[in-house]
């Protein structure tokens, strides 16, 4: 069955430290992977996606993510966290010509000053 897992409900990191938010997936074809961020009372904002090509993709606000096919992972990273990065992060996957996204359960990122 198709699925996305975000194994950590919450990630705590100090400002200025690197952050990683984990995502693993399971799909029957080549995956197309997305990261979205949700701030309170806002919608899901697109951060970045992997379609094909370079396994390291760069997105908004200094975030990047690495596609690892052998580990079926697409972890979100940032070299230096900001307090303003504190939010809920969602990983999503689709494949083929399907329109629907499968979402992970979300990871709350807390960046402390």
């Amino acid at each position: 069955a198709q699925s996305v897992a975000q194994p950590e409900d919450q990630v705590n990191v100090a400002e200025g430290n690197p952050l990683t938010v984990k995502c693993t997936y399971s799909v029957s074809g080549n995956p197309y992977l997305f990261w979205y961020v949700q701030y309170p009372n806002r919608g899901l904002q697109f951060l970045l996606k992997y379609i094909t090509g370079d396994n390291l993709v760069k997105g908004s606000y200094g975030f990047e993510a690495e596609f690892n096919k052998s580990q079926t992972s697409f972890h979100l990273k940032k070299p230096s966290a900001l307090v303003s990065d504190s939010a809920l992060y969602f990983c999503a996957v689709t494949w083929g010509n399907f329109n629907k996204f499968y979402f992970g359960s979300g990871t709350k990122l807390n960046v402390k000053p």
Binding site: K100, F101, Y102
Partner: protein, 116 residues
């Protein structure tokens, strides 16, 4: 920057009542979607819509749900007879195109529906 908007932000209704959730997709987008998130659960796909037709729907999207694009800007989700388990955050999304690899979907802020 263009955004997807949704109204109302919150809706409280009695079980058995009809509700209509409204969305204004980004203006040059052609594919529209509804997702929902029950509290504490994952965001789930409900339906996608293109060219005035449903292009795909999930098993959640049963006969009590319907979608419509009543004019050139709005996209609505109607729940005919609400149940307690319909209480959730409902997200609208749109994309320039769909049905092809990795099209980005842009989401609205959501409507929180509470069925009493």
């Amino acid at each position: 920057e263009p955004e997807v908007t949704q109204t109302p932000s919150h809706q409280v209704t009695q079980m058995g009542q009809e509700v209509i959730l409204r969305c204004v997709p980004i203006s040059n987008h052609l594919y529209f979607y509804w997702y929902r998130q029950i509290l504490g659960q994952k965001v789930e796909f409900l339906v996608s819509f293109y060219n005035n037709e449903i292009s795909e729907k999930s098993e959640i999207f049963d006969d009590q749900f319907s979608v419509e694009r009543p004019d050139g800007s709005n996209f609505t989700l109607k729940i005919r007879s609400t149940k307690l388990e319909d209480s959730a955050m409902y997200f609208c999304a749109s994309s320039v195109l769909g049905g092809r690899a990795g099209e980005t979907q842009y989401f609205g802020p959501g409507t929180r529906l509470l069925v009493l």
